[in-house]
Point group: C2
Chain length 200, copies 2
């Protein structure tokens, strides 16, 4: 038995979206399952004193270019949404609420959130938008809306974020295979070799 | 006729060392030459308000791990030197002084600086260490030492750094092919495709 691969990401992270589109198929080729763990990069950045890419002189304009080029590299539809970046608290709460009821459905919802944000420019910082997206996948709109304000759901997300920081997660995507961390969509080749052969 | 590929890097940047070890052979496969342009990342970071990897909570310990794993990925000898990072003004001045006299010898010197720092733990922040390394490659110790204080050499480096910032260089390695920028040793696969086929 192998342990699942842990996939930490923020719903507002384009490189997280790129990794999300590749990871499960990549892991499945090596007989590995994944657990998707959305986090709040804003909370992490308070610890690391980092800031969103879009606010960094010089780096921000490179990033805008690199994102579009990397999307084509991965053959993914993509546009830089507006607003960007956004708070992803609502999306995360929806995800964990659903995850605890149906983990498979939660993963499909997560991928749909990414596509709605990075392809269809839907503002998933809005609880109503998140609930509407969930509803299109067959989930109950009223139940999702109730979940946003549920103290248990809030706590569930908080604990996930705290555990991620405790584990050293400082960015998105951040993927852990048997304790070995890989940060960034550009580490997928190293991740694949690790899955294939272990340490080198 | 193709224009040379511009390679910006800091002598204190391990990912710059990794790229330096790959770039010329990679470019030569596509009939391209390179110009190596060492810069001072400290000056760049003043513009971008960034800080050395080693000072960032969580990210610094990941980086120490990733550097060693990536060195093995590239099959390169490597250790994290002490002190790290360092000022690379002396190394840069030595490089440009020599470059204006013998560009081929300057590239060999640059690679030797990298190896002395990241393999043999020599502190290349020291002008005397830089001059000694240059001397082992057949260059005149006294002439190199004189170059450190030469206002023309100082200005030469300053202009290179200013031009790099003007061009948008914000990190190391930063590689420009026909105006297309690639940041990071992990962009070498995209760089290679660009060299092979141009835009995708």
């Amino acid at each position: 038995m192998t342990t699942p691969v842990d996939f930490y990401f923020d719903f507002s992270s384009p490189y997280g979206y790129f990794a999300a589109s590749q990871l499960d198929e990549l892991c499945a080729r090596y007989g590995r399952s994944t657990i998707w763990r959305p986090i709040l990069l804003g909370a992490v950045f308070k610890i690391t004193r980092q800031q969103a890419l879009t606010t960094i002189p010089l780096k921000s304009s490179y990033a805008a270019h690199d994102l579009k080029r990397s999307a084509r590299w991965f053959k993914l539809p993509f546009q830089i949404p507006s607003p960007f970046p956004i708070s992803t608290t609502a999306a995360c709460r929806t995800y964990y609420w659903l995850y605890d009821r149906d983990a498979v459905a939660a993963k499909a919802l997560a991928m749909t959130f990414y596509q709605e944000y990075f392809v269809n420019n839907q503002d998933i910082s809005s609880p109503e938008v998140c609930a509407s997206i969930a509803a299109t996948l067959g989930h109950d709109y009223a139940a999702v809306t109730a979940a946003f304000a549920d103290p248990q759901v809030k706590m569930r997300l908080q604990l996930e974020v705290d555990a991620a920081i405790e584990r050293g997660v400082f960015g998105s995507p951040y993927i852990v295979v048997d304790g070995e961390p890989f940060w960034g969509a550009d580490r997928l080749p190293q991740l694949e070799r690790w899955l294939a052969q272990g340490p080198w």
